[in-house]
């Protein structure tokens, strides 16, 4: 048996989560490709596990998923601290002593609080820690030094575009100490630079992947749509929150209807913005045209994508957007805004149309164009499928991550300013 390769620990807050299926897929993919991968989360609930039955039934994978000890309520955490301490000392005496001596120099007595929070990682003695979201990495960058390991940090949108916008130095530690950054695309790299990341920071740009096996269908292009017999079917998929800009989507549908195009609009997803959106639907007089379906499983989303003629994504802020990837994989033309990574996600004019964000009128124009041109819909459908299978395949993504980890493990010192690998999308 060959010596197990370096140990990689992925760190997330909650696992598994239906809205973060990409983490589950990445974890599985990496394990299956033979890397020594573990996953550490703070919380995990039974209801979500029931939605990932194949993960639940896989003994090997389950043994690689670790739950950190609770840090709320605080009293419980204080009571558990001695147990955490002795356990670490027994299982990883050297790492524990190293952590505490180095940590004491750095933090003084506060090292005990941190020790408790980090004890899950100490027990795993990782060679690489990968924080899957920037926000959870910001205050834990000292771990590289204390545990003698490499640090990778992913930025997926929210962490750069919203978290602690008013704190200038929030990510300074990450820019200084992370060995490598992972971003979904050029747009997020731009956001990172705007938040103070130096130009020379080593990074990989790896876009999300889509399950092109699952998300595929024989698409039938209906010649004549937009009539009372066969209304133009518009679909949106995503959490109901203001960032997704559904209000502009609703206004676009309203404008389309005013142009005399018969259309139906379904919005799949749930969230706190439902009240604002039902009010907008009422105010725009769209009660008969617009349907909020609530949350849907992957299978139901697939069915909705078979139903639809076009996917509308009118986001104001976006990381990369999995729903748009899935739509392309399903051969569904996309009309979207230019928020975040969307212009890298689709090819304007080929797999869909990109228009400036917050512009209902321009969304409506492109929707109308698609509605009136069955040949265009058919071309975009083929191009979308082609793009998804050639650029966003899961295997490709796993290979890129594997390459990233291997280089991290090999590298004796930190990298200088090269872009290690890039899933260039255009």
């Amino acid at each position: 048996m060959r010596k197990p390769p370096g140990k990689i620990v992925l760190v997330v807050k909650v696992f598994p989560m239906i809205s973060e299926t990409f983490i589950v897929r990445k974890f599985r993919g990496l394990c299956e490709s033979g890397l020594n991968v573990h996953l550490l989360c703070e919380r995990s609930d039974a209801a979500s596990w029931s939605k990932f039955s194949d993960l639940r039934n896989n003994e090997d994978l389950r043994s690689r998923i670790h739950l950190a000890w609770p840090h709320q309520p605080r009293l419980l955490a204080v009571l558990l601290l001695p147990f955490a301490f002795f356990r670490s000392l027994l299982v990883r005496p050297r790492t524990t002593v190293k952590y505490l001596t180095r940590g004491y120099k750095k933090f003084g007595l506060d090292v005990f609080r941190r020790f408790y929070l980090d004890s899950g990682l100490i027990l795993l003695a990782p060679d690489v820690i990968h924080f899957e979201f920037g926000a959870i990495a910001a205050e834990r960058m000292y771990l590289g030094e204390l545990l003698d390991c490499k640090l990778a940090v992913s930025f997926r949108g929210y962490d750069l575009n919203f978290v602690a916008l008013e704190q200038q130095d929030f990510y300074r530690d990450v820019w200084e100490k992370a060995d490598i950054l992972h971003l979904l695309g050029e747009d997020l790299w731009g956001s990172a630079k705007r938040r103070g990341c130096p130009d020379y920071k080593p990074r990989v740009l790896i876009p999300p992947a889509v399950d092109t096996e699952f998300f595929q269908c024989e698409r039938e292009i209906v010649e004549r749509v937009g009539t009372t017999e066969r209304p133009f079917r518009i679909l949106s998929v995503g959490r109901l929150e203001w960032k997704k800009g559904y209000e502009y989507g609703l206004q676009a549908v309203n404008a389309l209807a005013e142009k005399g195009v018969e259309c139906e609009y379904r919005i799949v997803g749930q969230g706190e913005y439902l009240e604002a959106l039902t009010f907008a639907r009422h105010q725009l007089g769209l009660e008969g045209r617009v349907d909020f379906t609530g949350a849907c499983s992957q299978g139901e989303i697939r069915n909705e994508m078979i139903w639809a003629d076009v996917l509308l994504h009118s986001a104001i802020s976006e990381g990369f957007c999995n729903a748009v990837l899935e739509a392309q994989s399903m051969g569904l033309p996309v009309v979207c805004s230019d928020a975040g990574g969307l212009p890298e996600n689709i090819v304007h004019g080929s797999t869909g149309f990109v228009v400036p964000r917050r512009s209902a009128a321009k969304l409506a124009d492109q929707l109308e164009r698609l509605c009136n041109d069955p040949d265009l819909r058919s071309r975009m459908s083929k191009a979308g499928r082609e793009r998804a299978t050639s650029r966003f395949k899961a295997e490709e993504q796993i290979a890129q991550f594997t390459a990233m980890y291997k280089r991290l493990l090999r590298a004796e010192e930190s990298f200088s300013g090269e872009v290690l690998a890039t899933g260039r999308t255009t």
Partner: protein, 417 residues
Amino acid sequence: MARTVSDNQLMTGTNSERLRIVFAGISWPPETFIQRLIKGLIEAGVEITVACEQKPEPKWLSHSQFQWLYAPTWRGSLVARLLETARMRVKSPGRGSSDISLFKTHARRIKNWRERIPIWHQLLPFAGLRWDIVYFPWNSAAISYLPLFELGSPVVVSCRGTQVSIAPLNPERSDLVDALQKTFQKAAAVHCVTEAILSDAAKYGLDPQKARVIRPAVDPKFFSPRVNDVAGGDTFHITTTGALIWRKGYEYALQSIRSLLDQGIKVKFNILGAGPERSRVLYTIRDLNLEDVVQLHGPKRPEEVRELLQRSDVFLLSSLSEGISNALLEAMACGVPVVTTDCGGMREAVTDGVEGFVVPTRNAAAITEALITLSNDPELGKRMGKAGRRRIEESFSLSRQIDQFLSLCKQTAQASR
């Protein structure tokens, strides 16, 4: 806990000539306009009880016509709440056993005991007490106090906007429609802040006979135009005040500021207020490159609001839905011309082209156009500002509002005797 409700509040032995009103379902300190209403009513000789958890400040409690009824909320540790409920239950039999049995019938309808105890907890402070009027400043609160409608004191409810214009549309709150209908049915009188709200409420069974429109008021003595005309320079100062929530439509206002800049107009936009969508406003400011011209001030004291209004060239209200905006009325009182979207009762306060401009909702271009007209014509702005001030003095003065509210309460109390 010292009870500040005096003995004559008990069912027996009420012989005071004064009108007695309890403000229920509020937290202390309440919004400024409720404080002003309480103050105005006290000055008009009414005895006020406020039922809330927090103890009002001594400046209120020292007033002989002001009383506080400790009405705790179901928050904090479960054990403490359970003990509190038990304590209130033990104290209650001495007064109002009929009330207790009424609460009992109500509580019995709820199957789950975990949900039943908070209801006892909420109602017990009111057992055995009577007022001439039980007043709910928010009908959202009235909904959770339904048994109080049965106690025999007439209930007055205020209808202020979102509760009838937005929330019932939400499919996740379909139970609300039923509760709204019940409060409208059981209330002795319903106060609507605008005609628009009255017509919305009528859809949920409000009998217009019961309803009375009393528009909000501002204090024109406090909110007054600036004394000497300060030369504002060549920058056009735009101001808005309001909670940072989706209803206020700030995204449209900010888009409009962007296009003013693109057209070479020097502007400064002040946003006063706090709220859950602060990050959205911040994001939009950054996304539209408006960091240099938009200032997000956070919540401000009325003195500071007044000062900023007095230095503004125009007040902008970009809301998607409103009852009637107090902030806009305050701006008008300060002699500032206004640009407002056409929603809720805004047309009841502003006539397009007189005190300012009324533009369609969700339309940044229309806001831009109105702002440009005002920035090109400072004289027009001044005329509109003066007209706004006049309108406030004539139709939105504090004394008028208090008189109307008092007469509503008196009539309601008399009718139920």
